[in-house]
Amino acid sequence: MTDTSKPGFYEDAGATGTFLDANEMVLNMGPQHPSTHGVLRVILKLDGEKVLGTECIIGYLHRGVEKIAENRTYTMFNPYVDRMDYVASVSNGLGYCLAIEKLLNVEAPPRACYIRVILTELNRIASHQLWLGTHALDIGAMTPLFYTFRDREEILKIFEKYCGARLTTHAFRIGGTQYETYEGFEQDVKKFCKFVAPKMDEYEELLTTNRIWLQRTKGVGLISAEDAIAMGVTGPVLRASGVKWDLRKAQPYSLYEKFDFEVPIGINGDTYDRYLVRVAEMRQSLRIVEQAVDSIPEGPIMAKVPKVIKPPVGEVYVSIEAPKGELGYFVVSDGSTQPYRVRVRPPSFVNLQALDKMVRGALVADVVAVIGTLDIVLGEVDR
């Protein structure tokens, strides 16, 4: 058999081969395509179904968030960050608030931190559930989507009750949280934890051992630990490659050091491992939520923050472990009420860069699987 994966094979074939193997097809996948998760456009160079190369065209959803930030006060910009990674808006808000708190040199009181942890971890579950549903749908299994959305709905209901919005929550404020927990918050969260644990087993029953799922995901979209680090890939994608690195453990923020949880890692760095890592992460998040809701302290929910936020001149970079990876905010203050510069380090954007490496030589169906497994949100990629 000819080794078509050898570099340069196709170039040679074009010169010496017959007309049959000299044909390459350029396929525009997106921006309107069912499984590019929004408006990603991937230009595929194909030989039959085999992918010879890809190019991502992004920016269709670019809203200039960083420019908006320069024209808003610190408080006003807070709701905008929810609109980047709109499936994990609570995490986005947390990162932004932590960055500005760092700049102001204040710290949220413990009760606020606990509420933040509960909501952020619930949001991580919600984000992973949405990922699982859409990823399974990309691979052709329709049903997990509905189960995960049903369970995610329960989380969104808690969000709605807590802060009044389901998706773009604007849950946290600089210095703490705006809202005290509502009556029955703890019971709702506990009920959810009890409700969702068996449901997670069901997702796994549908997929984990299913032979088609195994064939579609095992060995697909491989990325080694070295490559992953060089590509700056973070989050579950990095952990599935075997790097045990989670910012919640490595550099704890918002009192994460008080909670007992594990960082699941994969071995092979393929799509299946990423699936397992994310499912395990959902369970770990549940553990954190249960611990936090059991030990939530009393106290104020807002640190002493002036009404008009004017951080001293300086620049900070604060990053958190968002569901997609390291979400960082680099904020430069010039001492005025408006940030001089806000740079968002979006995990999806950086992770998406690894797509080309992961799908070269694979089939068209794998491109879809890999886009799914990277768990990108175009709102965050394009900002």
Binding site: M76, R150, K161, T168, H170, Y179, E202, L206, T209, R211
Partner: protein, 153 residues
């Protein structure tokens, strides 16, 4: 190869497990759908929906003191408060109030800024209008408050 995994594979146990899950869920009790216009969803008390200007229920006077805090808190600058100094009481009184819902992102900063609980984001979530102009709410519309849509067939 061990015999048990081989047998499991031959008899497609993995596939049967999945089939079992989907089969079980056919029970009509598991249905999660809300039949929206027929069944109204339960909206949380804190829900941030369409804005409303509250009036004093006893006198019918507006609670707004035209302090302009909401307008200055709004990230989208979509609130315009017109005010006039009352020559009798020497107080500022709100005359006009426009709220451009079409640009609103329902962050709730205006309602948080309001010092008299006048401006409030209500639980009304049915926002659709036939034209963009209808989404620019004036004082009258804001004080009228929510108008839950009634569906008829």
């Amino acid at each position: 190869m061990a015999i048990a995994p081989l047998l499991r594979k031959m008899f497609m146990v993995d596939l049967m497990k999945g089939l079992n899950v989907t089969f079980r869920y056919q029970d009509p009790k598991e249905v999660y759908t809300e039949q929206y216009p027929l069944e109204r969803p339960a909206i949380a008390e804190r829900y941030r929906g369409l804005p409303r200007l509250n009036v004093n229920p006893d006198t019918g006077e507006t609670l707004c003191i035209a302090c302009n805090l909401c307008a200055s808190a709004c990230p989208e600058h979509l609130i315009v408060v017109g005010s006039q100094r009352n020559p009798v009481t020497k107080r500022k009184e709100m005359t006009t109030f426009t709220y451009d819902v079409s640009r609103c992102m329902f962050c709730g900063l205006c309602a948080e800024a309001c010092s008299t609980d006048c401006l409030e984001l209500s639980q009304d979530f049915e926002i659709a209008q036939y034209s963009r102009d209808d989404l620019v709410f004036d004082r009258e519309r804001l004080e009228r408050g929510s108008e839950p849509t009634v569906y008829t067939r």
